[in-house]
């Protein structure tokens, strides 16, 4: 019976250890798309602003890999990411975009202010294509190969230290 006395203490110690561990190693609450390695779902988005074509899944299966950036003019980290996207474009990465829940004039103002690295921008007013892609927020980026297969997903803004990884993923998708 004497050993049983320590059971509550041991249980308590286990709880303390579990809590301390989670405090020290916070949970990664990013939700990765399960579509990595699979073909893009088919979609057709209208232009997000006049003067630039919209985006369809067929545009992303034309033989060479492309980066698809999911962004919004109302998203602050997207503005932080903008210079890095311009840098990627300078390095020869073709970039298309999907603008989530945005108005044409707001997209135009965002691009005028932060630069425009995009060849095509589809407008997803009701997040339906975003959900079909398994994306859970803005900004996110997908590397899509020439056959329209999702090869990599980047969650959150692409920061300068992510550029090498993106370049490698683009190279691997060739």
């Amino acid at each position: 019976m004497s050993r049983a006395r320590f059971i509550p203490l041991i249980v308590f110690a286990l709880i303390v250890v579990a809590v301390a561990w989670r405090l020290a190693v916070p949970r990664d609450d990013r939700v990765a798309s399960k579509l990595e390695g699979q073909k893009l779902p088919s979609f057709a988005l209208p232009p997000a602003l006049p003067g630039k074509p919209g985006l369809t899944s067929a545009d992303l299966a034309k033989g060479s890999p492309r980066l698809v950036n999911i962004f919004a003019s109302w998203c602050v980290p997207c503005a932080a990411e903008a210079p890095v996207l311009l840098d990627l474009k300078r390095r020869g990465v073709p970039i298309d975009a999907i603008a989530i829940r945005d108005r044409p004039e707001d997209v135009a103002a965002f691009l005028a202010r932060h630069g425009d690295p995009f060849e095509r921008i589809g407008g997803d007013d009701r997040s339906q294509v975003q959900i079909a892609l398994g994306s859970s927020g803005v900004p996110e980026s997908f590397v899509v190969d020439g056959r329209g297969v999702i090869r990599a997903q980047h969650i959150g803004p692409i920061m300068p230290h992510d550029v090498d990884g993106i370049m490698q993923a683009m190279e691997a998708a060739k």
Binding site: D29, V31, K34, V76, R101, P157
Partner: protein, 133 residues
């Protein structure tokens, strides 16, 4: 300074993380067919919001949750079953997105846990009764 601004921008994101567009039509409007609406509402309580990850999309005020409610209602109105919609979402976000965990090698401990706890409770009680006797 630049790095500090960047860090501030990242921290500031949740403060203004909503668009200016109104919610989708079917985010907050019931389907005309009560049976379809009941199926949709039931499913909305079992699909996890991707933004407020402790909430179901039926309870969350996040815009993405609204757009997911619209997706659920539209698919059910088109004749899909709730299970088909759930499967479609699991294909994209993993079993994580459903509050009804599957009975697979990863999920069965969740279903077995209540039985295990009951058994442990019975074992503890048994010890008590024995001491009295």
């Amino acid at each position: 300074m630049k790095r500090l601004l960047l860090a501030l921008a990242l921290v500031a994101a949740p403060l203004r993380a909503d668009s200016d567009l109104p919610p989708s039509r079917w985010a907050n409007e019931q389907l005309p067919d009560p049976r379809q609406e009941a199926a949709a509402t039931k499913l909305m309580q079992e699909i996890r919001c991707l933004v407020c990850q402790g909430q179901a999309i039926g309870d969350s005020d996040a815009e993405l949750a609204g757009d997911m409610r619209a997706l659920v209602r539209e698919r059910i109105a088109r004749g899909e079953s709730a299970e088909e919609v759930r499967r479609w979402l699991i294909e994209r976000y993993g079993a994580w997105v459903s509050y009804r965990p599957p009975l697979d090698p990863l999920g069965w401990p969740l279903w077995a846990a209540p039985i295990g706890l009951l058994a442990a409770g019975a074992w503890l009680l048994r010890g008590r009764f024995r001491r009295r006797a």
